[in-house]
């Protein structure tokens, strides 16, 4: 292997422009796929942050409702007590949730508005950068990103749910590329929606030692008209929305990245092989077997792709770090699944890119060594 590795490395390093084009092209193409994956994974993370950080082990919704976003759940208020009586339930907190628009001046932003009851033990915002974490009548907690964009501060009024509320706190870490999360009081929310005694979800904390899945099953069995899911299941359902929404886009962009990377590597390895056609002939004449030379080409393609992959990954990671330090509500999450997928892409690209050059090497006649070079 050392012979093939040496030749492949030296052949690559000999022409730095070609190496740069090859590795750069692969890096760029794979970065495209990695970054897109990371953006959607980031969006999924952001969308599920509230579910994961609200403190509930089990989420109880209207029967058939398995998501927080893009659906509406409506439960009679009496469900709260019924859920609280189920074995294994330690605490319950009802919340009301709706997708709405928060406005301040000309700025309008989509937000998931959560109505929190006074004294609830779950569902509160967990990272307040300014002001209060508790909302009373006529008050609201908004995302700091929205506040910055709209030019409002604690104490200013914003429009929400057809009325107005005073900002008492600014939160962070709950906004996504799509929307932010705002918190109002439970009573205000209900009043603004006509005062009907309904809630959206019941947040459940299970007793120590109890299994969330078992408690969820028990709730569904004992309380009619509800769907109960453990936090893990609820998060998985929520992520599925993002996956379903993004699958086509990711597939198309991945295919574009794949084709671009394949074309770049195939072309550069092909040109590199063409340029060294005579030297491959010399090696054949000296006794190198075809399979040895095929390995040289394959290692060359693999090295180009591997270096390109590492650079692409470094670039995407750097981009994620930089974005994380800005006020943009954009998170790039590089997942292991994405790394495996793009890594497999890269391996397939290397293999495919080597096919043409290998066919070329196979056709090289070792007797080429006796042909004179054209005079320079």
């Amino acid at each position: 292997m050392s012979t093939t590795l040496l030749l492949a490395r030296r052949n690559m390093a000999r022409n730095r422009v070609r190496l740069l084009a090859s590795v750069g092209g692969v890096a760029l193409a794979l970065s495209l796929t990695l970054a897109l994956d990371a953006i959607y994974a980031g969006v999924a993370n952001q969308l599920t942050t509230y579910i994961e950080r609200a403190g509930a082990d089990v989420w109880v919704a209207q029967q058939g409702v398995r998501n927080l976003h893009m659906v509406a759940s409506s439960l009679p208020e009496t469900v709260v007590d019924a859920v609280g009586l189920v074995d294994g339930v330690a605490a319950v907190t009802p919340i009301i949730e709706a997708t709405d628009t928060i406005s301040a001046g000309d700025v309008r932003a989509v937000a998931y508005v959560i109505g929190l009851p006074v004294g609830g033990s779950m569902g509160d915002p967990w990272d307040i950068v300014e002001g209060s974490a508790q909302v009373g009548p006529g008050e609201i907690i908004v995302d700091r990103g929205f506040a910055a964009e709209a030019g409002v501060r604690v104490g200013d009024m914003v429009g929400v749910l057809g009325g107005e509320a005073r900002i008492v706190g600014l939160s962070k870490g709950m906004a996504s590329l799509i929307n932010s999360v705002a918190f109002v009081s439970f009573d205000d929310f209900r009043a603004m929606r006509g005062g009907a005694p309904v809630i959206s979800f019941v947040l459940v904390r299970v007793a120590p030692g109890a299994s969330p899945e078992a408690v969820a099953t028990a709730i569904e069995r004992l309380v009619p008209g509800v769907t109960a899911q453990s936090r893990t299941d609820f998060v998985a359902q929520e992520r599925r929305i993002v996956t379903d929404m993004s699958a086509d886009v990711i597939s198309i962009m991945s295919a574009v990245g794949f084709v671009v990377a394949l074309a770049v590597v195939a072309l550069t390895v092909y040109v590199a092989t063409l340029a060294r056609r005579r030297e491959f002939g010399v090696l054949k004449a000296l006794g190198a077997r075809n399979r040895t030379l095929y390995r040289v080409v394959l290692v060359q393609a693999t090295l180009s792709v591997a270096v390109g992959f590492v650079i692409g990954l470094a670039f995407t990671t750097g981009l994620a770090l930089v974005l994380g330090r800005t006020d943009l509500n954009l998170e790039l999450a590089i997942t292991s699944a994405s790394l495996v997928k793009v890594g497999l892409f890269a391996a397939i690209i290397a293999g495919l890119a080597a096919i043409l050059p290998i066919r070329q090497v196979a056709r090289v006649d070792p007797a080429v060594v006796f042909r004179r070079r054209a005079p320079a």
Binding site: L6, R10, N11, R14, A285, A288, F370
Partner: protein
């Protein structure tokens, strides 16, 4: 009887079929003994390179057989030939054919590694060889940084690294100046005599005749009888003295391809504007001994005196 290193038996190579087919080599036979230096000369297109390619297992003969150390290599499958080329042959080329991306040391060591030697041992062996050839200071140089003579010495080291039985050299001095070319020639002869390796050289270079044990003339794909060659001083064509038109001037005889060239030469002398030297004027004063096609098997002694007389080759033409 000495065991032969190389035994070429009645070998023919034909390219193409039917009426368009061309015979590059016709029924050539040649036997090379261990430690012998054989020089094959001939005009361009005479089949020298085709013959060398067949001897080096790079090309299969259409008919006949080639034996190396008693084994018929021309009958081996393609899959077995790389091993033969790797371990039994050492190739030296006119263009050196060093791998441009590898250093001097790597160019030599890689061939040993291909033969199965591990990296360290291959490098040690290559280093020793290169030191022996005076390249100790050039081990890490790329080929592009070397002179022609140095490149050819690297190529010789590469040819020797796997201890081959036979060294095949294609115009080894063609890209070298006279002094370096002479050094390379002496080196090849030393390798043959000191290490007992056979050396077959294909060349146009008359200077190599000095180091060869035998000189063979290949023309139209077949070995020819020995004749004495000279160069027409007007057109540069190689001509057989015995058949050429001649003229004597200042006690020296000149040979011409035709009466026209002779008249032009003599007329030029009279008018003082002869195109003497249009061809290889210098070479015209160096008579060459070559072979005319023959059926007989001839043998010559390899001592220096007899070499300088004629160096007739052992060959068999069908």
């Amino acid at each position: 009887m000495t065991a032969l290193t190389l035994d070429v038996r009645d070998v023919t190579k034909r390219f193409g079929d039917g009426e368009t087919g061309v015979f590059a080599v016709r029924g050539v036979s040649l036997a090379v003994e261990p430690g012998e230096v054989v020089l094959i000369m001939g005009p361009s297109g005479s089949g020298k390179t085709t013959l060398l390619s067949m001897m080096g297992a790079l090309l299969k003969p259409t008919a006949g057989s080639i034996h190396l150390d008693g084994s018929e290599i021309s009958a081996l499958s393609e899959g077995r030939l790389p091993d033969i080329r790797l371990r039994q042959f050492g190739f030296i080329f006119q263009d050196f054919n060093l791998l441009s991306a590898l250093s001097v040391l790597e160019n030599v060591a890689i061939v040993a590694e291909l033969a199965g030697l591990n990296g360290r041992a291959a490098r040690d062996k290559a280093t020793a060889l290169l030191r022996g050839l005076g390249l100790a200071e050039r081990l890490d140089f790329l080929p592009e940084k070397l002179s022609g003579g140095e490149k050819q010495r690297v190529a010789i080291a590469r040819a020797l690294i796997n201890d081959p039985t036979l060294i095949l050299a294609d115009e080894p001095t063609a890209n070298l100046d006279s002094k370096i070319g002479h050094e390379i020639m002496r080196l090849l002869r030393t390798i043959a005599k000191d290490q007992g390796r056979s050396v077959v050289i294909v060349s146009h270079d008359q200077r190599i005749r000095d180091i060869a044990d035998r000189v063979l003339w290949l023309e139209d794909g077949a070995f020819k009888d020995i004749v004495t060659m000279a160069t027409d001083p007007v057109c540069g064509m190689a001509v057989e003295r015995e058949r050429a038109v001649s003229a004597v001037r200042d006690g020296e005889t000149f040979f011409f391809c035709s009466r026209g060239c002779r008249e032009e030469y003599l007329g030029g002398l009279r008018s003082g504007s002869a195109r003497i030297g249009r061809g290889l004027a210098g070479w015209s004063r160096l008579p060459a001994v070559v072979l005319r096609s023959a059926q007989a098997r001839m043998t010559t002694s390899t001592d220096s005196a007899s070499r300088s007389r004629s160096r007739l080759g052992r060959f068999r033409n069908s």
